[in-house]
Amino acid sequence: MTDWLGPAEWSAVALSLQVSFWATLVSLPLGIFVAYALARWSFPGKQVLNGLVHLPLILPPVVTGYLLLLTLGTRGPIGSVLADWGIVFAFRWTGAAVAAAVMAFPLMVRAIRLSIEAVDPKLEQASATLGASPVWVFLTVTLPMALPGIVAGAILAFAKAMGEFGATITFVSNIPGETRTIPSAIYAFLQVPGGEASAMKLVIVSVVVAMGALLLSELIGRRVTARVGGR
């Protein structure tokens, strides 16, 4: 098995997992927050926020990557400020994670938002009458009841991050061991004659990994649903 993939491929697999994992984990709290805001609050600029969240879905990934490069690059308005604090995304795996997170964000938010909207506000009211402040209502009622959607959203984001290519390569290039994720490696293989076989191996690996994640999310989802007891 270790022979089947070369060290370069293994490094791409490991990197993809790392990038996708962190992209999902770090964007999850923000995703939940934004989903909640969109589901339950009304505030000026709500539609703007909603649009912004969906932007990476609408734009060709190359454009998103380019915009990321322009803003978060070491010379970009935000990137240069962050660089002063020692936070650099450009051409680092962290940047790949940012690109993946941005691209996956709309999917995550949509899934979570739908689940939050499906939580009966009457239960939230009941929680409030029992003394729970809005934050506690959220933590003890809304969040656990929306769990299936949150898991679904996270897995969707993870899968998307595993497959993300256009924005990543445009933003952080394709540096082995640093930003060469599975899709970038597949791309590189496909660019040369005879690279299909190597590419196909990586495709299989990424499918297996993502299917594993999916199965896991199904199991979690089923357990959560069973707990709620046939609803």
């Binding site: 239960l123 009941a126 409030a128 009458t129 809005p134 506690w136 007891g229």
Partner: protein, 365 residues
């Protein structure tokens, strides 16, 4: 004293209600759709009325004029919802514990074991609400509210889904809350016997307006204003426990007249309220002899009010207080019942139903 005054419009329904709820149990009474739940929701803070003021002493929950709107979670309520609203993702045990997490740690708190026992839900603690029967859900909902150490209990038909035996077990608990813990209670009920037993104050609603309010004895004794008509009329008497007899009867002293009841839990000397439904009273001109009924209250006819049907309500003043009797007009004529006539009210011992016997409360009028 809780003062509530709210106005709110839904499409096709206007609520405009003001009432005072003195300490004790205030029962909201009225037909389906008369606005009971709406009022409770404004007190709970779940519905923001168009205008209104809700305050208890100097603790102001809502005052639309001065812009005070206490958030629901700051009101420290125990709201028993009409439709349960248990948390489906928590076990029964966790549902019961939920309110306590948020209550101040020093708040007076009911014992969980005691409440669980009272409600008979000990075997359900590890289940989730999805696997409970209708009545079991309702009991858990009652427990959840009671265990949240509330400063005010809102109970919206808490016992509707329960059988009589279970009701009879739970009602005394509400009485204890009223009398011992002195948590004010706003209580919605359709059942006259529940009302009579629990109510310190009755607020009768019709189509969003208060049509009568006042001490229970007064409102219940006035058949004209009760929504369901004369069948629900009855008198509420205050009495003192005179003696517990060996054969399981308790003798009460109601203004000097003896009243026999199946044994009540109050100690000798304790005070309690007894409801005598108007339709449970038989009148006799002569003092009747040789009857199975043990309670005979002599009195004087105060008023004969004909009802809509063939019946009439006879109000008579006895030493125990005002007693109502619902009889046929035919009998009223035959017996010659006119104001001032002397009659005897015959009340079967057991027709003073267990549900209608309550601890003395604050209705010592």
């Amino acid at each position: 004293m809780l003062e509530v005054s709210v106005r709110h419009r839904f499409e096709g329904f206007a609520l405009d209600a003001a009432f005072k709820a003195p300490p004790g149990v205030t029962v909201l009474f009225g037909r389906s759709g008369s606005g009971k739940t709406t009022i409770i929701n404004t007190v709970a803070g779940l519905l923001m009325p168009d205008s209104g003021r809700i305050a208890s002493g100097d603790w102001c929950l809502l005052d639309t004029e001065s812009g005070i709107r206490l958030k629901p979670h700051r009101r420290r309520l125990g709201y028993i919802f009409q439709e349960g609203r248990l948390f489906p993702h928590l076990t029964v045990r966790q549902n019961l514990a939920y309110g306590a997490w948020f209550a101040p740690k020093d708040a007076p708190r009911a014992s969980t074991a005691g409440v669980v026992d009272l409600l008979g839900i000990g075997h359900l603690l590890d289940r989730r609400p999805g696997a409970l029967s209708g009545g079991e859900k309702q009991r858990v909902a009652i427990g959840r509210a009671l265990l949240s150490a509330p400063r005010l209990i809102l109970a919206d038909e808490p016992l509707a889904a329960l059988d009589e035996a279970r009701k009879a077990e739970i009602l005394p608990y509400f009485e204890r809350l009223r009398d011992e813990v002195s948590v004010p209670i706003l209580y919605v009920s359709h059942s006259p016997s529940e009302v009579a037993r629990l109510a310190t104050t009755v607020v009768a609603l019709d189509a969003g307006r208060v049509v009568a309010q006042g001490p229970a004895a007064e409102v219940l004794g006035n058949p004209g204003i009760l929504p369901a008509g004369a069948r629900e009329a009855g008198a509420v008497l205050t009495a003192r426990v005179a003696r517990h007899h060996a054969d399981g009867l308790t003798e009460l002293d109601a203004g000097g007249l003896p009243l026999f009841l199946p044994k009540v839990p109050q100690p000798e000397g304790g005070r309690l309220r007894v409801r005598i439904a108007a339709h449970d009273v038989i009148l006799s001109r002569a003092r009747p002899e040789g009857l199975s009924a043990l309670n005979i209250l002599p009195g004087v006819v105060h008023e004969v009010r004909p009802g809509e049907g063939p019946g009439a309500i006879v109000a008579l003043d006895t030493c125990a207080g005002r007693v109502l009797a619902r009889i046929t007009r035919r009998s009223a004529n035959v017996l010659g019942l006119v104001p001032g006539a002397e009659v005897h009210a015959i009340v079967k011992t057991v027709s003073v139903a267990p549900l209608d016997v309550g601890g003395g409360g604050r209705t010592k009028r």
